[in-house]
């Protein structure tokens, strides 16, 4: 339906059902029509702001109040269909689906609920378009195919959803069919249902047509889908001839004919529609005349196609028309038609003229994502090969030529060329081009960023943001400059990272203060909060996260981070001791409350169970509850979420499982914890993995101890088996791994007597660590490596691989780096014990004891060395020497360093009597 007519109708309808006036502010009688007008103009920023005002209007009553989600959802779908930023398009579609589905669920009986479902289906179709565009842009054939498959699935789902909607709408319409007295309010409702039903049917056909486009042109699958679409359009055209729906169906019927190679029939349909005199059909004719041009080109009537394309631009001279998909398509067809007329025999002057026209036509096409972009780029390269990169060549270009080539270089992702051309264009800009200078600067900043020239990007974009803050692209420029600083921060440790952070904070503060109502400001607030939190400036971080606007798309994320900041603050306070315990507990309670509320809000907003933000929120809440001593509550929160997870991979899932595992460990659920650990291993990367493993290991150790004491040998054996497999899984884990976690795993394996496994882990650990310059440069690396090697010797020893063990120990004892450490000597003594070389062992242990005798207080190892020497005496049958050794040490050191050692001495002495 033509927009103006639609707006007019909408206004009349809305005015007919005008509710009572709000006490102040916006007029609710015209609000919906005004929103529609803003949407149709593409003023989504203003529409969004207007919705915000309506939400905040104190006197706003029903039905408008309850319809705001519906209006917002429709607006988001519209915006998604027009935005050229594909990532944003996806985000908008997600938000739209959440709003519309929530609306339809909450008000299933409203007439608008079915329209909302039609919009949800439209969102699916838009996702299909999005996937198709990504496929067009993809360089990797596999990714291209994946995206085409995805697009196909979306179009198919959209077609099915439209069909369901059409059936429901038709049933509702039929219920109101039949004669009604003039003035009967049901007439209006009936007409509305009929229009929505026709709309859904038509869109179903279009979705089928689009689905067919996702197959290669010669694919067999295409035909049956086009046949189905054609049948549907044909029935609609015949059933509703003369109506807008009938005419739209006729247009698409023509398109299906075209697909089937019936160009004559297609042109017949197009001409019939183009001949319609009604000015209100402008939008329809815009599409039809574009299709007509395509059909002419297919019939190789290139001269006529080019003329029609020129005429198209004369008639459709509004900016939104030129920038529409059809506008870009017509420009591309114009270029193609001119190109097709150029032959080797064409005189040079004409060729030059044609070349100029082709380049002019293609310039806007290559700048926007569309299905013509790649072909347009190829054609453009044919007429403007990238030979102008030489400075001398660039110097010869005029301002307009330079900017034109720069735009093409941007579109072709030739960043270095774009940078050179944009710099040259800025140098050539005179007073007449003053209004274009900022745009060139912005493009230069972007090209520098993409070319990894981050400092340049920061300077150019930062200048625009600060010096031209009222310019429309100033906020995106600020975002670009911030990202450029972030990249510098990330790039190198040696660089001035502190300075980077300060510059980041400064610009982020400026962004938040200058455009407080924009999304860039919210982005800046979130990053500022993260920086402040990282610095331990919790008050600032809390203020940053809390300042993110209520209606910001990142509001829930900000709230989650706000909860996280309260939690971090509570931990910091707890570290300060008992004096601040109450404060810490209050902060922890606040963190839990915010995280819980945010999780509920996410659920209410219809967040998908696999949504990254949702999982992160749940994980944070679970961890905070567990560490607040409410692990049972954490389990209650997390269990249904974990069970609802379809995908078992990804960092977000990993975080969720970590939180769940932590809660299980804290509630002593050993076997479920092991199961979670396995799930965690499959989920990919994670940040707290080693910490968790330690905790889980301790839990398992405690369980082993309990079972041993309880004299449950069967269960003990099972638990040992579990512990062993857990340790092996830990050792084999590729993510979240550290020296300490592997070292600990090896220790655990040794405690279970799994020498071979421990040996494998340790050898790999030692080899990797010695080859890792970063590790070796860390303080304490030598000592950590020593302990690993000592453990390796132990692993070899318990396998009775005495010679290799001796080699390891010899290496340690002769290495001057380890000369001041006692560990190799103890390992050597243990090896001698294991070899039952009691004479050597006795001497060695005495030597070790002498070495340790100077330490005050005397370490446990000192007493242990004398103990082992006594054992060696005893093993040689020298019980008197053994007893004498023990009693001498006991006389001089009555406590023997602790009760455990004293007991050992006493036990041995008892055997020597």
């Amino acid at each position: 339906m033509p927009r103006r007519r639609a707006a007019g109708l909408a206004l009349s309808l809305l005015l007919l059902t005008a509710p009572g006036l709000a006490t102040a502010g916006e007029d609710p009688r015209t609000a919906a029509a005004f929103l529609l007008g803003l949407r149709e103009r593409g003023y989504f920023d203003l529409a969004s702001e207007y919705l915000e005002r309506l939400r905040g209007a104190p006197g706003l009553g029903e039905p408008l109040k309850g319809m705001l989600d519906y209006h917002e959802g429709r607006m988001l779908v519209d915006e998604a269909s027009r935005t050229v930023d594909l990532a944003r398009r996806r985000e908008l579609l997600d938000r739209a689906a959440a709003r519309l589905e929530a609306f339809a669920k909450e008000r299933p009986d409203d007439a608008e609920a079915m329209e909302a479902l039609v919009e949800v289906a439209r969102g699916q179709a838009e996702r299909g378009h999005l996937a198709r565009l990504v496929a067009e842009d993809a360089q990797d054939p596999e990714k291209k195919q994946d995206k085409l498959d995805e697009a196909r699935a979306h179009f198919r789902e959209a077609a099915e959803a439209y069909e369901r909607c059409a059936e429901r709408l038709d049933a509702a319409y039929q219920a109101l069919a039949g004669f009604k007295e003039r003035g009967d309010p049901r007439i209006e409702q009936r007409d509305r249902l009929r229009n929505s039903m026709l709309d859904a049917r038509l869109k179903r056909g279009i979705a089928l047509y689009e689905e067919a486009q996702t197959y290669p042109s010669d694919a067999a699958e295409r035909g049956p889908i086009i046949d189905k679409a054609l049948e549907l359009f044909d029935a609609m055209e015949k059933g509703y001839r003369g109506t807008t729906a009938g005419m739209l169906a006729q247009m698409y019927r023509g398109k299906c004919f075209e697909e089937q190679g019936k160009i004559g029939e297609a042109i017949g349909d197009y001409r019939a529609l183009m001949g319609q005199p009604d000015e209100r059909l402008r939008d329809l004719k815009r599409h039809v005349s574009y299709f007509y041009i395509i059909a002419l080109a297919k019939r190789e009537q290139f001269a006529l196609a080019a003329d029609e394309a020129v005429r198209w631009f004369q008639i459709h001279d509004r900016r939104e028309e030129r920038d529409s998909v059809e506008g870009l398509g017509v420009a591309y067809e114009l270029a193609r038609a001119i190109d097709a007329q150029v032959t080797p025999e064409t005189p040079k002057a004409e060729k030059d003229q044609a070349s100029k026209r082709i380049v002019e036509a293609l310039a806007p096409v290559v700048r926007a994502p569309s299905r013509f972009k790649n072909d347009a780029l190829d054609l453009l390269r044919k007429y403007r090969p990238s030979t102008a990169f030489q400075p001398s060549e660039i110097a010869r270009l005029s301002f307009d030529e330079t900017t034109g080539q720069a735009e093409e270089a941007l579109a072709a992702r030739e960043w270095d060329r774009a940078v050179a051309l944009l710099r040259a264009a800025l140098g050539k800009a005179g007073p007449r081009q003053a209004d274009r200078v900022n745009r060139l600067r912005y493009d230069l900043g972007f090209a520098c960023y993409m070319n990894k020239q981050y400092p340049e990007a920061e300077v150019v974009a930062g200048h625009l943001a600060r010096r031209h803050s009222t310019w429309e692209l100033a906020p995106p420029a600020a975002a670009l400059a911030l990202q450029a600083i972030f990249e510098q921060y990330q790039a190198s440790r040696a660089a001035d990272r502190a300075g980077d952070l300060e510059r980041y904070l400064d610009l982020a503060k400026f962004t938040a203060a200058t455009w407080p109502e924009r999304e860039e400001a919210d982005d800046a607030r979130i990053v500022m909060g993260q920086i402040h939190q990282g610095r331990g400036e919790y008050d600032l971080a809390l203020a940053d996260f809390a300042a993110v606007r209520e209606r910001s798309p990142r509001r829930l994320e900000a709230q989650t981070r706000l909860g996280g900041a309260h939690w971090a603050r509570s931990l910091a306070l707890a570290r300060e001791g008992e004096a601040r315990r109450a404060e810490a507990e209050a902060e922890a309670a606040e963190a839990v409350a915010i995280l819980r509320r945010t999780l509920d809000d996410r659920k209410a907003a219809g967040a998908a169970t696999g949504d990254v933000g949702f999982l992160g929120n749940a994980a944070d809440l679970g961890a905070a509850l567990t560490e607040s001593g409410k692990a049972d509550e954490a389990i209650a929160v997390l269990k249904p979420i974990v069970e609802a997870q379809a995908a078992g991979t990804g960092p977000a899932h990993g975080r969720l499982m970590e939180a769940y595992l932590l809660a299980q460990i804290n509630t002593g659920q050993v076997e479920p914890a092991i199961a979670s650990m396995r799930a965690l291993e499959q989920s990919g990367e994670g940040s707290n993995r080693a910490r968790l493993y330690f905790k889980l290991g301790r839990l398992l150790e405690a369980e082993l101890d309990r079972l041993a004491k309880a004299d449950q040998p069967q269960k003990l054996a099972e638990m040992k088996k579990s512990f062993r497999s857990f340790l092996m899984a830990l050792a084999e884990s590729e993510d979240g791994q550290s020296f300490d976690s592997l070292h600990w795993a090896a220790g655990g394996l040794l405690s279970l007597g799994a020498g071979a496994e421990a040996e494998g882990v340790l050898r790999e650990l030692i080899e990797d660590s010695e080859g890792n310059a970063e590790f070796m440069g860390q303080p304490g690396a030598v000592e950590r490596l020593l302990r690993a090697k000592v453990k390796l010797a132990e692993a070899l020893r318990i396998q009775k691989k005495f010679d290799p063990a001796a080699s390891v120990i010899d290496e340690l004892t002769t290495d001057p780096r380890y000369s001041r450490y006692i560990d190799p000597l103890i390992a050597k003594g243990e090896l001698l014990d294991a070899r039952e070389d009691w004479r050597a062992a006795c001497a060695h242990w005495q030597d070790v004891a002498q070495k340790l005798s100077r330490a005050r207080p005397r370490p446990e190892a000192y007493f242990d060395a004398w103990y082992r020497a006594a054992v060696a005496y005893a093993k040689q049958g020298q019980t008197a020497r053994a007893r004498q050794t023990l009693t001498a040490v006991t006389r001089l050191n009555p406590t023997l360093g602790g009760p455990a050692m004293k007991k050992k001495y006493d036990d041995l002495l008892a055997t020597l009597k």
Binding site: A33, Y50, A474
Partner: protein, 349 residues
């Protein structure tokens, strides 16, 4: 059953009446006129007298007196073709051509004083419109209107001419001249109301907005609630409140007007939303002002007086906000949709 002759006689009489009416002056009434003696929105006959308050039309033995505020235009029997051409050109916004045609009509209608007066007024009022957009033409417009008023002090166009002159004077900040002119307008029975409103506007512009507000309150109290006159007074009062920097009061008042008027009353709503935009812009709330003007563009574009004004204001605001493509788009639309509107030719800013 009447005989065939009787029927033929009736047909002949009807034909004669139609012929007589075709040769008469046609007084076209304003749309929605409440005047009861009209047929098909017009009164036909011979215009015998014109005063600032009324026009007297004779049809045979009948005399009809039509109040001037009910008259849209008069097509005089035997008026030169240039008169109609002048009107057509004026309606199409071709000001220079219209002025030339009116001048030609005035020359050709010598001896037909009502036609000459109408042609001279047509010319002068067009020039007044031009002077509102182009300050360089103020002098010419003022002298032409003054000359007209001197030449036709008791004609039917006096009230409209004095009102046009007052607008030009106010726009050019000739407050003294405007005051004298409004004093004359107030003396005319049909002009007293207009004079009072314009006087209030004068007070607001000349630095005494409080006096303007008081005067408007006095006038509004006498006007029926919800009447067009009351609405107009309230909107002028809103302007005066803006001049007094009482933005909140002004905004409240205009929003009340918006809420009280039917949403589909595009004439009131478009004026009110433009007034709201002016108020919010003056209160340094450009985004709010933009929203107000956009209401006119998106919902009430039917009002061809107010719509170009809104387009210009939207263009200016977008430009101020640095949204140049949108500003350019509005500038283009203004020029395309209203090529001859003073708002299209008005200097930016």
């Amino acid at each position: 059953m009447p005989s065939i002759h009787t029927r033929l006689a009736a047909v002949a009489l009807a034909g004669l009446l139609v012929a007589a009416q075709a040769r008469a002056d046609v007084v076209q009434l304003i749309p929605g006129s409440t005047f009861k003696q009209a047929q098909g929105g017009a009164v036909r006959g011979t215009v015998t007298a014109e005063t600032p308050a009324e026009v007297t039309v004779s049809l045979g033995a009948t005399t009809i007196v039509v109040p001037t505020d009910q008259i849209e235009s008069i097509e005089y029997q035997g008026q030169p073709a240039a008169m109609q051409l002048g009107r057509t050109n004026a309606d199409a916004g071709r000001v220079e051509e219209a002025v030339a045609q009116y001048q030609k009509a005035a020359t050709e209608a010598a001896g037909k004083p009502f036609v000459v007066e109408a042609a001279r007024f047509g010319e002068a009022s067009l020039l007044a419109g031009e002077a509102l957009a182009e300050p360089g033409r103020v002098k010419d417009a003022v002298s032409r209107l003054t000359a007209f008023l001197q030449a036709h002090p008791r004609g039917r166009h006096v009230v409209a001419a004095r009102e046009a002159l007052a607008r030009v004077q106010l726009n050019a900040q000739d407050f003294k001249g405007a005051e004298a002119n409004l004093a004359e307008l107030a003396k005319l029975p049909a002009g007293a109301d207009r004079a009072a409103v314009l006087k209030a506007r004068l007070l607001a512009k000349s630095g005494d907005p409080q006096a303007a507000v008081d005067e408007l309150d006095r006038l509004a109290a006498a006007a029926p609630e919800g009447s067009p006159r009351r609405v107009e007074l309230e909107l002028v009062k809103a302007e005066a409140l803006v001049a007094a920097s009482r933005y909140d009061e002004s905004e409240t008042l205009v929003r009340q007007v918006i809420a009280a008027a039917p949403a589909e009353d595009f004439a009131v709503q478009s004026r009110a939303y433009n007034a709201l935009g002016d108020c919010l812009a003056a209160a340094a709330k450009p985004k709010d002002a933009l929203m107000a003007y956009l209401h006119v563009d998106l919902l009430y574009a039917k009002d061809k007086q107010e719509h170009p004004r809104a387009l210009r204001r939207i263009e200016e605001l977008f430009r101020k906000m640095g949204q140049l493509p949108r500003a350019d788009e509005y500038e283009r639309r203004l020029k395309q949709e209203y090529p001859n509107s003073p708002w299209a030719r008005r200097a930016q800013g």
